[in-house]
């Protein structure tokens, strides 16, 4: 047998691009794929000149799960649990985007109570995602205590969500036509008590961290992104709102019962890591406002419409967009009339948000790269589906 000639193999394109320059004093540094501040298996190739970043390039592909391909192999119902795994921190929003797209395709109407429950649990989940981001971001920046406070509050929230959905992280709670099961009787009072509690904790968060000179020193003026750059890369969610554009799917393309509720979309115009931080902190309050309205007017009636046990939507396609904790989530489903989707495309906000990183990191210090990366709030399985 002929010996295999490795010289024939195409060279790893990233290694080609990262050949040392003519001065030969650049350092190539691989940040990740298990670096604590890349929050998962993201690898970032950095070309450093001393402490300064000359080039940065994210390398994906360490956790590829082929969710979209899997969708084509499973029935509509069977693909549902995958949604909780795409973005495990805001599983509800992904549940919703997929359920919404299929409902649109099959023409299933969700009862009012189901919509209210959906709004409440999704917003609760958004708070839990933001709280975890808050703790983890500060952990990246070297502060350990805040994550403990965040987990303390998140615990109350997870208890509520567990009582409703049965699990604490990868929820599979939505079904086509509504939600899997109705909420327990004490759901509304527990939610109201939680939002009251969280509001009372927010001043403490502000005193402890937001006003702290160390955080301000590490975030103010770091990773500045103007709104054009954000638009060009398709950044959404708190990332673009931190650049001054108050775009939010809940307002821009109102879905479900969001149109009924009165809430504010926070936006900051500085465009730096601190602005993105502030947007998320303000969003905690926004979510509290929405939850209060959703559960205090919880209508009676069924929580779910009757959907056929084997779903065969008519030929056609449908899109559904929701606002996730990281930005706009969109699911596009195409049906050929069979029991399995013909094609499913997921649009994950993290992917576009991460792409901006190359531009933002150029010329900053290595330590600032951590501030920038954390301020984008990435969840890798969502980017690398």
């Amino acid at each position: 047998m002929q010996a295999f000639d490795t010289a024939q193999l195409p060279r790893d394109p990233s290694s080609v691009r990262f050949e040392p320059g003519p001065t030969e004093d650049k350092l190539i540094l691989s940040m990740g794929p298990q670096h604590p501040s890349t929050h998962g298996v993201l690898r970032i190739l950095l070309e450093l000149d001393g402490e300064y970043i000359v080039r940065a390039e994210p390398v994906l592909g360490y956790i590829h799960r082929m969710h979209e391909w899997m969708a084509e192999q499973k029935t509509y119902f069977q693909f549902m649990p995958n949604m909780g795994r795409v973005d495990y921190l805001h599983a509800m929003a992904w549940n919703w985007a997929y359920a919404g797209a299929v409902e649109r395709l099959a023409g299933i109407e969700v009862p009012e109570r189901g919509e209210h429950i959906r709004v409440a649990v999704t917003e609760l989940n958004r708070i839990s995602s933001h709280l975890l981001w808050w703790g983890a971001y500060l952990l990246d920046l070297g502060a350990f205590t805040p994550i403990m406070y965040a987990f303390d509050d998140r615990e109350i929230l997870l208890d509520i969500l567990q009582a409703v959905t049965g699990s604490r992280l990868t929820y599979s709670y939505f079904t086509f036509g509504g939600v899997y099961n109705d909420v327990p009787g004490d759901f509304a009072p527990r939610c109201l008590a939680f939002t009251k509690h969280l509001r009372s904790r927010l001043p403490m968060y502000r005193d402890l961290v937001t006003d702290n000179v160390i955080l301000r020193g590490r975030c103010e003026g770091i990773g500045e992104m103007d709104v054009d750059l954000a638009r060009r890369y398709g950044a959404t969610g708190p990332v673009i709102r931190g650049s001054g554009a108050p775009v939010d799917t809940r307002r821009a393309e109102p879905y479900s019962v969001y149109g009924k509720f009165d809430f504010r979309i926070p936006a900051y115009s500085q465009g730096d890591a601190m602005a993105r931080y502030m947007v998320r902190m303000d969003e905690l309050e926004t979510s509290c406002d929405i939850i209060d309205q959703a559960v205090s007017e919880l209508p009676d009636g069924p929580c779910s419409a009757k959907a056929p046990k084997t779903l065969k939507p008519p030929k056609g396609e449908a899109c559904y967009a929701v606002e996730g904790a990281r930005g706009k989530i969109l699911v596009h489903v195409r049906s050929d009339g069979g029991p399995k989707p013909y094609r499913v495309k997921l649009r994950a906000p993290g992917f576009s948000n991460l792409s901006v990183f190359c531009e933002l990191a150029r010329g900053t210090l290595l330590a600032d790269a951590v501030s920038i990366l954390g301020s984008l709030d990435l969840v890798i399985p969502e980017i690398d589906r």
């Binding site: 069977q78 649990p81 795994r85 567990q162 049965g166 599979s172 005193d207 402890l208």
Partner: protein
């Protein structure tokens, strides 16, 4: 940086430090919030999704309601359910030893073995949702530890029998 700016920065830095220490100090005096397992256990498990389990008949809780229709096996996205039931003997072979086959089997309405492989289960609840006789539900056991993956293959019929005896 001028002296006054340096002084101002030192003052704000010190203020931040004292505010932070104050909050930590207050938290230090508050009761502990963590659950000290195994001395304490969590108690809010009534709706917890553990692995699926069988629901017994009202008149005989050691016999499952299951009619071996195989709908749950078909609905499961992770292929973690195995339901075997006796294969009805063919004509002329009535004396042959009874064979077990995957549900559904024509004319066979009682399951011989119901096995769930919890190491594969994604706790989606599709099986419980599709069951026509409500024979499946989630158990509420959060403490499952084993060194071997095989131990997560749970024989649900034996489990139901054990539960019925304990009651």
């Amino acid at each position: 940086m001028s002296v006054s700016e340096l002084f101002e920065e030192a003052c704000t830095g010190l203020k931040s430090l004292f505010v932070g220490l104050g909050i930590t100090g207050k938290a230090f005096c508050q009761p502990q919030v963590t659950v000290i397992y195994p001395k304490q256990e969590v108690d809010n498990l009534s709706t917890f999704r553990g692995h699926v389990e069988l629901v017994g008949k009202e008149d005989d809780p050691s016999v499952p309601r299951c009619v071996a229709c195989g709908a749950c096996v078909k609905a499961c996205p992770s292929d973690c359910l195995t339901i075997l039931c006796p294969v009805p003997a063919k004509e002329g072979q009535e004396d042959a030893p009874m064979a077990m086959g995957p549900a559904p089997q024509k004319g066979s309405k009682t399951p011989g073995a119901v096995i769930v492989d919890f190491s594969l289960c994604s706790l989606c609840g599709q099986c419980a949702k599709t069951c026509p006789v409500d024979s499946l539900r989630f158990s509420d056991n959060p403490y499952m530890v084993a060194l071997d993956r095989k131990e997560f293959r749970i024989d649900l019929m034996a489990r139901l029998k054990r539960q019925a005896e304990e009651e």
